[in-house]
């Protein structure tokens, strides 16, 4: 039996019990299309090239593996920041725990609420950017999400929104299997910051589709933390217009399995796309950052900055690609992925790629992995700083380069101080 057959069978078995959620015309079509795409592509398989470093089995199997709840003895990371809080519990929107969903310059609707509509503006994006992002590399779990997600938010931003929108996830059921699908549309010149934090569910599949129109600015800061047993697969699909800005940052601590994909396409001239991540992995931890940036316009800039600190057998993965299409002259593309391995049991697997079809471009990439600088460690210890604290100081310093990609000082401070307290807690 060939691989295709194996995949086909597994996919059919997985989808056999699945029925699409009932929905109105616009969404029903999108879901049916997505399901058809999943069937054609097949779900990810351990022998797929794109899943060479990350085992997809627990993400594709029918039931979510159980995940213990974690102690919520610390305040949610963005609590100190004035924001509009939108809460999901195990993948279901919670009106009681959320703020009133109104804000100046934006409209927020719940996907479950608009699902029954016959027509909605979100039709032009829902599953559309995801579909586009399926070439040249297939991302079947995102299509599965488009087919099955029953909740999420649909945000339309028309002006400069000062208060960030915070999607807060809470996990209260040890076997919850959640699929959330968010759509954000920024109109010309609009500006918004989206925050995400908290454990989504035992298994969490999320898609975020973002359209950044000309001169619009989208900032995204996400914290995936401390719920040790969760499994996450997330996809961001973004399309950038002329002179637009897209900046996304994710901090990840713990989690048995996390795969964060970002698929960005620069379609208007002079656009800027940054995606960054900092992660601390300890023990049974597998973290995969998979990024695909396509330059399809002139004079655009893209940056990928990923830093990982791994120990006690943790695994970090980076698959990052910059694709520069023939007309995307004057592209400035940068990609760096680095890991700090605190012991020999941990590993970092990286596949950095450049594919360039334009001649007037400046692209660079680098990937390194190394042990902690022993000279530096001794220097700190010789001044009386205990080894574990010295290691954490150097860990933070290493990660800081990725955290600095966040534009807002208030948000980067929040990330740094949370990282500090996580590291301190781990020291005991």
């Amino acid at each position: 039996m060939g691989l295709l057959d194996v995949k086909q069978e597994a996919t059919e078995a997985r989808l056999s019990g699945v029925t699409l959620p009932e929905s109105g015309a616009w969404l029903a079509t999108a879901r049916a299309d997505a399901l058809a795409r999943v069937k054609t592509m097949g779900l990810p398989h351990a022998r797929d090239e794109y899943w060479k470093y990350t085992r997809p089995g627990t993400l594709t199997q029918a039931d979510a593996p159980e995940a213990a709840l974690y102690d919520t003895d610390e305040a949610p990371i963005f609590d100190g920041i004035e924001r509009l809080n939108v809460v999901f519990v195990d993948g279901v929107f919670s009106a009681e725990e959320s703020d009133d969903l109104t804000g100046e310059g934006l409209s927020i609707e719940r996907l479950a609420d608009i699902a029954q509509n016959d027509i909605h503006w979100a039709k032009e994006l829902y599953g559309v950017l995801e579909t586009k992002g399926q070439t040249p590399v297939q991302r079947p779990l995102a299509a599965l999400n488009t087919a099955l997600a029953t909740d999420g938010v649909v945000i339309r931003v028309s002006g400069e929104v000062s208060k960030p929108v915070n999607l807060s996830y809470r996990h209260r059921d040890t076997t919850s299997d959640a699929a959330l699908h968010h759509v954000v549309k920024l109109e010309e010149g609009a500006k918004v910051t989206l925050l995400e934090n908290g454990p989504g569910a035992a298994r969490f599949n999320q898609v975020l589709e973002v359209e950044v129109a000309d001169k619009a600015e989208f900032h995204h800061v996400r914290a995936q933390g401390r719920d040790h047993e969760r499994r996450n697969v997330t996809h961001i699909f973004a399309r950038l217009g002329t002179e637009s800005v897209f900046k996304s940052f994710t901090v990840t601590v713990n989690g048995v399995l996390t795969r964060n994909e970002a698929v960005l396409e620069l379609t208007g001239d002079d656009a800027v796309a940054h995606v960054a991540g900092a992660c601390v992995g300890d023990g049974e931890f597998h973290h995969d950052d998979t990024v695909f940036v396509t330059h399809n316009a002139v004079n655009c800039e893209s940056r990928q900055v990923f830093k990982k600190v791994l120990r006690n057998g943790a695994t970090g993965v980076f698959q990052g690609k910059i694709l520069v299409q023939p007309d995307a002259q004057k592209t400035d593309g940068y990609q760096i992925s680095q890991s700090l391995l605190l012991d020999d049991d941990s590993q970092f697997l990286a596949k950095p790629e450049l594919e360039i079809y334009a001649d007037d471009v400046a692209c660079s990439h680098g990937s390194t992995s190394g042990a902690i600088d022993e000279e530096g460690l001794f220097y700190l210890r010789a001044r009386g700083i205990p080894k574990d604290i010295a290691t954490d100081l150097m860990t933070l310093a290493f990660l800081a380069e990725a955290v600095e990609e966040i534009e807002s000082d208030e948000l980067s401070d929040a990330i740094i101080s949370r990282l500090e307290s996580w590291l301190e807690r781990r020291r005991g």
Partner: protein, 251 residues
């Protein structure tokens, strides 16, 4: 205060003996200087005392106020009051000088069951001390030693010493790379710390530093041993005649 007896040290990974039986005692309140040809083992001695990896003590002992140093982790030695001003201070990207020093000061206090210094008191203290060493606010904010000139790194070592107020200070060629003015600043920094309860071991190649920091005792180290000990005049002799005579005499 610092007592070193018959200390023999080899490299951990290589069959190479570097210290071949060092005996040395530095009393509280005294300044001892060590001079000696390149490669004689001066830095190795300072590293072994402060607990750096890569060396194996095959014989002998070293203690600070009666506490066995060789059994302790580097941070424990520091908390006991041992300080080494490095011959080559290390650059630490991403860790600001200020954070580094505050963490160090408070870690030592904690290890000694003393109360941690408040942020305000710490700031006041470091600003005053930095000023006398002509270290500006920008250097305090920058990552530890990153992009510092040779002389700035050495001044930064002295600032750390001033902040940590150790009992026993070992200075490994703190004078090398300093211009005349910086030499004065550094010497003044050292002299300001001289006190009855504090011992100094100053490793240097030049009389120039010893003009400013008047040593009580001068040792000559050669091939892993202290081969001669005398008063300040010994340093002058080295300055004038080099090591040839002394080495011939003890051979």
């Amino acid at each position: 205060m610092l007592e070193i007896k018959g200390l023999k040290v080899k490299l951990e990974d290589e069959d190479k003996q570097i210290l071949k039986g060092v005996d040395l005692t530095v009393e509280a309140g005294k300044v001892h200087a060590i001079m000696g040809p390149n490669g004689s083992g001066k830095s190795t001695l300072s590293y072994v005392l402060s607990g750096r990896d890569g060396y194996e003590v095959t014989e002998g002992a070293a203690s600070l106020d009666g506490e066995d140093l060789l059994e302790m982790e580097p941070e424990e030695r520091a908390a006991e009051g041992l300080f080494l001003a490095f011959q080559y201070p290390v650059e630490i990207p991403g860790v600001s000088n200020m954070t580094f020093l505050r963490t160090a000061v408070n870690a030592q206090r904690k290890a000694r069951d003393e109360e941690e210094l408040s942020a305000a008191d710490f700031l006041k203290d470091i600003r005053a001390k930095a000023k006398t060493l002509k270290i500006d606010a920008d250097m305090l904010k920058r990552p530890v030693n990153m992009g510092f000139s040779g002389g700035e790194k050495k001044r930064n070592e002295i600032l750390q010493m001033a902040m940590l107020e150790p009992k026993m200070c070992i200075l490994d060629e703190t004078d090398s790379g300093l211009d005349v003015d910086a030499m004065k600043l550094v010497s003044e920094g050292v002299n300001a710390l001289r006190s009855e309860g504090r011992g100094f071991l100053v490793i240097t190649h030049y009389q120039r530093l010893l003009d400013h920091i008047k040593p009580d005792v001068v040792h000559i180290m050669a091939d892993g041993r202290i081969v001669k000990t005398g008063g300040p005049e010994l340093a002058l002799e080295v300055e004038e005649n080099g090591y040839a005579d002394i080495l011939a005499e003890v051979a």
